[in-house]
């Protein structure tokens, strides 16, 4: 199970890196989303996989059974999902506003803040 999930995570990372290498913001954005999901799966797998055992301590015992699922990775993934979703929402808005204002989604041509033809600093008075 771990091997299969590791391979899947590898494919996710591969896809994310490939998308993020593109100059187009919309592709980078999709890459970031895939990357976030790859990380979620990674944390989940790192917490060790168990099948069909909920992380709940039964009523009549004090100590949890040894085969109980690890609840911590689930909490971490939940936090990471919330954060990556809110960042995705922000980045989507930012990308759209940048497209409106700058009329491009190609980062190679986004040179307003750092103009390509900026003159060198003066060498004398």
């Amino acid at each position: 199970m771990e091997v299969a999930l590791s391979a899947l995570i590898g494919i996710f990372f591969m896809t994310a890196v490939y998308l993020m290498l593109s100059p187009h913001i919309i592709r980078i954005l999709l890459g970031v989303v895939v990357l976030g999901n790859a990380v979620n799966l990674l944390i989940f797998t790192n917490g060790r996989l168990t099948r069909e055992v909920p992380p709940i301590v039964p009523d009549d015992v004090i100590v949890a059974a040894p085969t109980i699922a690890n609840p911590l990775p689930q909490a971490l993934v939940l936090t990471a999902i919330v954060i990556s979703f809110s960042f995705f929402a922000f980045l989507l808005t930012l990308a759209y506003r940048a497209y409106q204002e700058l009329d491009t989604d190609d980062t190679d041509t986004m040179r307003i803040a750092e103009p390509a033809d900026e003159a060198a600093p003066p060498t004398g008075y």
Binding site: V32, L76, L91, L102, A113, A120, P122, Y125
Partner: protein, 559 residues
Amino acid sequence: MAGKPTEPVDITGAMVTQAPALADWLVVAPIIICLLGGAFLLAQRKNTAIQGRTAVAILALLVVAAVGLLVHVLNNGPIVMTMGRWLPPFGISFAVDVLGALLVLVGALVAFFCCLYALTEIDTEHRRYGFFPFLVLLMAGVSGAFLTGDIFNLYVWFEVLLIASFGLLILGNEKAQLDGAVKYAFLNLIATTLFLIATGYLYGLVGTLNMADIAVRVAELPDGAPINTIAALYLLAFAMKAAAFPVFSWLPASYHTPRIVVSAVFAGLLTKVGVYALLRTLVMLMPASLAVFADILAWIAGATMLIGVLGALAQSDIRRTMGYLVVSGIGSMLAGVALMSDLGLMGSIMYAVHSMIVMTALYMTCGLMIHRTGSHDLRGLGGLYGKDPFLSAIFLILAFAISGLPPFSGFWPKLTLVQASLSGGDGWLAAAILVTGFLTTIAVGRIWVMSFWRGGPSGTPDGESITQEAMPLSDPADRRDMLFPIIGLTALVIALGFLPRPYLNVAAGGAGGLLYSESYIGSVLGTEAADAAIGQELATETEAPEDNSAEGSQSGDGS
């Protein structure tokens, strides 16, 4: 509840049973102040009249809490507070040692003075966009990152400060801002995601997220455990957050685009949080892996310093020059980390404190210069000495400090770092630090000569001075209000330069706390666990205790 045991269960082994001492509440006070203050300011977002002064009051309260925290930590050692009463390592702990408390204090001071500056700089329109709530919430993230003792919690605070910084960065919605923000946002988000990846692997390897517990367990790992890979991921993630070569490009692309006070806050706080995280993870948690990467980190440090300052020399926009100087300063801090000695870490911490104060003050001064001349380009600046001799003196002091010239705050960290590199056998690193200082002098000296010394903008005949006041800032009260925070920070720069003793001692305490982390681990997990921690190989290599290193740099000055 069915089957409920009749006898009460003994929970002392799993839970905190005693309420924390009242003074220990100081460890969460900065976060509580900022979160409550931020919530209040958000609720009052449309009420622009009271926002500014309320934010100043909140940040003043933060400064007071941070002073109390630092004094308490200096007197009583690290403080720990555990959330939800679960004993560490199960609950999320907030743990603060000297380094964390020092950085919270300096960060709070920087934010306080920036907030004072913003009272004039940020107009009603930008207040409606929410400058003050964002600033206070940014401080919640920054303070949380310095105070937390849990590595996943550190990630969460990184995201809190990141989302607040996005808000500040795009305040105003100008084209250049959106352009800069796109690069800043994507690259920083990728850096924090790398941090999360590393944390996921670390959890898989050691099964804990509590930093003190991680330090103990990493030292006990068998040979062949992939801890170096994890350390490399942390190095990459935090180098990106700290804007180190070769992953610094987001900083010069964005730091000159927002309002100047936003740049000042960012220059003072954000990259230093990255350096702090690097110190915490690599020096305290994985010292053996840091030793593996020390040479690479030293090269990164040297390259960051030199490329940063060369970038500064290549800019004609003074705001962009300052952005590159921030990058260059990060190189000096990383040099101390790469040296891994008491003296080196002490130099790093001192440089971080110095850089937070000076870079913020420099950005604010640039803001005033831009207001007075209407230009941010070296060609357009000029004649400021005649208009404002006092400002020119302040800029000169800050220029000396950033270049590392005595008698100001930049001298002591540079001296400590050079001494640490020489005693560590890295002569070339000492040379790189000194060459960087020299080139920085040229970069800031050129700004001073062109903006203050000459009579007017480029093309003004020699000997003439142009004194027309064509400024948007004609109200003398505005100048006074904007000058006040600059004077406050400059006074700190002078004080740290002339009275370095307490500053050296606190920084030495911070470095000692990282290298000899028994007291930190002991305060989180209990003393037995600290004794069991065996990752103290470093401690035996460098025998200089804190006081000696402070003495060393003092005597270095005399020679």
